[in-house]
């Protein structure tokens, strides 16, 4: 593996052997490196979970916040300092379960951040309960008769909210995953990358093999500007498409706010404030 500025010498992860998270780490580092990003100008924001530990393995700025709450922090970090590249990354439970409300409303705001979700269809860190994306019938110590709820379809929900960018990857293919992440980071606006990630410890159903057999890449001819077509693809569950489903350039949160200066360089305009105070005298 190529060395990058984001590597930490001698770093060991807390992930299980064979976990897809390792490859996501490599893929992301490769993407960042390819894009010429530097550790000092990047902030990784995450929640809590196995996936959410990823910033700990990066030589970069990070904000490892609360379970489910990466997105609001990421939105504010970007707004307070638009010069930073912000990647919000967590697990499927974190982003779509506990963090579901932030997920839908962050898409609406369209901040210029990249949102990477390690979708292993299970709660890893808490030892194997169903996640919102777990498929029907998946048996766990809590879902003893198998999952009965409709699986959460993050891509479909994102597209239904007219998301700016949405893609799905499978970390079994590190190269393509890295390319998709690159495209997402390059994209101006909110970009979601849902990455299928096998969890050999707790998800014995959706394994590398399963994903390999049940996914395929969107055809080159696929037009990612077509919302309904994108949805059609997102709805497909017999075989799950991979690639960039939908792109839709539009003004970002910071564009709308017209913010440019990082917060810590702002100076309070006391003169103007005095004027405002005085105006209350009349």
């Amino acid at each position: 593996m190529k060395k990058t500025d984001f590597d930490i010498e001698g770093m060991e992860t807390a992930w299980c052997p064979g976990c897809g998270d390792h490859a996501i780490l490599s893929a992301l580092k490769a993407s960042l490196d390819n894009l010429g990003l530097t550790p000092g100008k990047l902030v990784m924001v995450s929640g809590i979970g196995q996936a959410a530990k990823i910033p700990q393995y990066f030589n970069t700025n990070y904000f490892n916040g609360l379970h489910g709450r990466a997105l609001p922090a990421a939105v504010a970090i970007k707004a307070s300092n638009p010069e930073l590249t912000v990647v919000a990354e967590s697990g499927d439970g974190d982003m779509y379960g506990e963090g579901g409300n932030h997920f839908i409303h962050t898409i609406r705001r369209n901040p210029d951040i990249t949102n990477i979700v390690h979708n292993n269809m299970v709660y890893g860190l808490t030892k194997g309960q169903a996640s919102p994306t777990s498929r029907r019938g998946f048996v766990t110590p809590v879902q003893v008769s198998g999952v009965m709820s409709e699986p959460f379809n993050p891509l479909a929900v994102a597209i239904s909210l007219d998301v700016s960018f949405v893609a799905r990857a499978f970390i079994g293919d590190q190269q393509r995953t890295s390319e998709i992440i690159e495209a997402a980071i390059k994209h101006r606006g909110y970009a979601l990358v849902d990455i299928f990630q096998p969890c050999p410890s707790f998800n014995k159903q959706n394994t590398y093999k399963w994903f390999r057999e049940n996914t395929y890449y969107l055809e080159d001819s696929f037009d990612s500007s077509e919302r309904l077509a994108a949805l059609g693809k997102a709805f497909q569950t017999d075989r799950l498409p991979l690639g960039i489903f939908y792109r839709n350039e539009k003004p970002t949160f910071t564009d709308n706010l017209r913010i440019k200066t990082p917060g810590y360089r702002k100076i309070v305009d006391f003169k103007r404030l005095n004027g405002l105070i005085s105006s209350l005298a009349s």
Binding site: V43, N61, A73, A76, N81, L84
Partner: protein
Amino acid sequence: MTFSLPKKGPDISIVICGEAGQGIQTLESLLTRTAKLSGYHVFSTKEYMSRVRGGSNSTSIRISPERVYAAVDRIDLLIPLTAASAERIKDRITADTLIIGERKFVSEALSRSSGEFIDIPFTETAKKLGRSIYSNQVVLGLVASLLALDINILKAKLRAEFEDKGSEIVDINIKAAHAGYSLYEGLIKDDKVISEIKKAGEATGDVPEEVKGEIVISGAEAVGLGAIAGGCDFIAAYPMSPSTGVLTFLAKHAEEFGIVAEQCEDEIAGINMAIGAWYAGGRALASTSGGGFALMEEGVSLAAMIESPVVVHIAQRPGPATGLPTRTEQGDLELALYSGHGEFPRIILAPGSAAEAFYLTQKAFNLADRYQCPVFILTDQYLMDTVTNTTPFDTGGLEVERHIVKTEEGYKRYALTDSGLSPRGIPGNGRGLVMVDSDEHDEDGRITEDLSVRTTMVDKRLRRLTLIKEDIVEPTLIGDKDAKTVLVGWGSTLGVVREALTSINSEDILFVHIAQPYPLHQKVLELVEGAGRFLVIEGNATGQLARLIKLETGREADGKILKYNGLQFTVEEVEERIGEVL
């Protein structure tokens, strides 16, 4: 017989009551501002139902030659705009009350219980000018005339208010006010009523220039201005009464002052955004009320763990749950004090006036930055909605203290220090990396399971409390320092107790007003410990400050003056209740 106003005291207490949507707020705003510009001190407070139209609301306005700090029970002049709203406050009507208004709004019983009822056809008068909606301006004109307010100032105010509706509308409004003026002249002519209220300084013959130069401001505006003065550049809030005024104030001035005013999807997003903003170098405010704050507690704990500054404004209202959304209470002191899981230092401020709201909010941002901890500003509906004149806030001595460092290579966000404070870096500012983690972490900010590091970090975080305790807002003392009875209060009761004590005029009571309930200033503890009798006054049902003081001093209050019906104490009430517990 001529009814002469006021019967008691040098000031006149006017109550206007009606339903939501009748424009009472505009009336109040125009009246207080015109009165102030005409040389009166003003004080106004409102109570209203949780609805948009209808119901029964009232605004109590005091117009005074002397500075006024609180609401009184007494009504000198009542102007009812609906029958139901007049009925709702009938207990406050006495023989000293003059009611001016339309017959249909004033029952027989009501007028009988008053000193005098003068039937004035406000609506009819307005209708003659065009539409009944101008009747408020007729009222305004009448009151202005009664108080001898400057008609030109009133006209200017009306012009400013209705400007964007076109000159025709402006003209009719002014005409309506003129009609009101004439109505009062008619009353004078008929020997019906005479007002003897003086303007500030009039007794001494001075021109009340000082008052005229003062600002008229609500608590919500004062918090908003304080935030701007504190360098606030981000407000993350979800609308919630009675805190919304701060959000709208900052939203209104967001562009001017480079503030991000973001309405969040929920309060959890609010606090997490606020913390994210601080991390990236901003100075963010989360603003809410008790119920919304209850949702933020995990976030408070996050701020504590990553040693992030954060300022949270909690405008209190009666709970539990939704409670009385538009009313006041001081019920969330303990909620803030023990909010968030785990153990960590915090600071709680509780301004007692608009001026304190301004200066303490400003200070809150510096305290948060200095001590890298959550700072809570506890206000309440009463303070938020109360409007008074006050000396213009002096921004001269104020500074936006940014306690941040430009990082070097190898920067450690949680470097161990004697004080427990580690220099705070900002991502992108310097060559270091800023790593923060909600898990237990080492000096670098990386997750750890080293249990001795755990202990070290808990101690480090808690150690800051020592520093915080050296930097506490002093209590305001009113009365004789050696008085036998020490009455302690906090937050919004400052003004009402101040006035009540002036009336009681007892040399035996020292009022200790706490603007920083946590940590408590040593002086408070000493005064309580040394007191012959120790009393508390609080707007809640169980005496939360009393408990906090007991925790610090071991001393139980000898008497508690509590109120929790959703309204602030009035001056008369405090006088009476103090009498009861003395």
